[in-house]
Symmetry: C2
Subunit: 216 residues, 2 copies
């Protein structure tokens, strides 16, 4: 006779949640600097302050850690992107997007770099993301841009390439940080630098699209 009631298959206690996040942070840091192959499980473990075997207890294998890190980044992206509700005003919408994107480069540089390295390697683990979520997100943006153009609210500009410009310009501050630092003559990028960046990008993009900055 079985007196014990079997518990559910998985109960994420606080210990697990805490340890897992700790290792995920350590892994993100390591992957962003040394890449997937350049990062050893030992390195992740050391950074997290736990023995190596512990990492294997929480994640299936090294690729498991990596995909967890990537998934975490995509979630972050999702919240950032979905936070932007498209208003009827192109200028306002573009400004909001640029500000959010620059802010992401400032607050999540490591995540940005892991994402960039994955792209640079041919994005073998982002195919699903690109074909599902990103595809849908992009299509909706292109439609909106096109509707603005059709309505005469902005210049006729290839929407996809415009998005690339915004993406590339903003991403640059996280991904090419050494170059940016050297160029701006600073050892660390501060809020003021990102403010100047956002200001310039917004200024050029808006005017370049035939838009006038929204009143603050």
């Amino acid at each position: 006779m079985n007196r014990t009631i079997p518990r559910g298959p998985y109960k994420p206690g606080k210990i697990r949640q805490n340890s897992e996040q700790c290792m995920l942070d350590a892994a993100t840091q390591a992957f962003s600097r040394y890449g997937f192959s350049g990062t050893s499980m030992q390195n992740i473990a050391d950074t997290a302050g736990v023995p190596k075997a512990n990492v294997h207890y929480y994640f299936k294998n090294k690729m498991g850690v990596y995909t967890a890190v990537l998934g975490n980044i995509l979630d972050l992206w999702d919240t950032v992107l979905n936070d932007i509700t498209v208003t009827d005003n192109p200028a306002t919408a573009l400004c909001r997007y640029i500000d959010a994107k620059i802010d992401f480069s400032r607050t999540h540089p490591q995540e940005s770099r892991v994402f960039a390295k994955e792209m640079l390697s041919g994005a073998p683990h982002l195919q699903e993301f690109l074909q599902d979520k990103y595809e849908a997100w992009l299509a909706s943006r292109l439609r909106i841009f096109q509707s603005w153009i059709d309505a005469g609210k902005m210049d006729p500009i290839d929407p996809a390439h415009l998005l690339f410009m915004i993406w590339g310009s903003t991403q640059h501050y996280a991904d090419f940080e050494p170059q940016v630092k050297q160029s701006l003559g600073t050892d660390t990028l501060h809020q003021e630098h990102f403010d100047a960046a956002a200001k310039t990008v917004k200024q050029v993009i808006l005017k370049g699209c035939g838009l006038t900055p929204p009143a603050p």
Copy 2:
């Protein structure tokens, strides 16, 4: 008595030159896809079609191969950048630079990616480059931009951040190729895609700076 006349310390015969370039190409390809740690000497050797020991004969060690690849890329960069003579017309100069940069992304995507990965990793092997050649190149550009602004030839725009915009926008087509491909719905990027890219970037940047496109 010594009858043999000692030859010079290093004579790069055709064999050496050929083999070295072949291995350098193989290494560039491997590094761009798998990164430094993810690339094995065996992989480089296989791609070049030679036994592994041969690579060690031509290069001191793995880092030697990598720095050779990086140096090669910086040379390429140098020729591209120096090819742009600054005319007195801002619009023409910017167009030339954007076209050259986009063309570099098209013709040298692997080199672009190796460079980007090095930046993403904190550019530990580019410090000298950044502090010497790049620093000088940047300063001269900033002066030119400022003079244009002072002369009222273009809007007052932070020159450094403007350069980052151009750099980031153009670099994007090599570094984020999977995203670009997916967005444009193509399996391979063709000349027409890069033409559209250059057109959009020039259109937005020029107008965004208060410039009118030069007559072709």
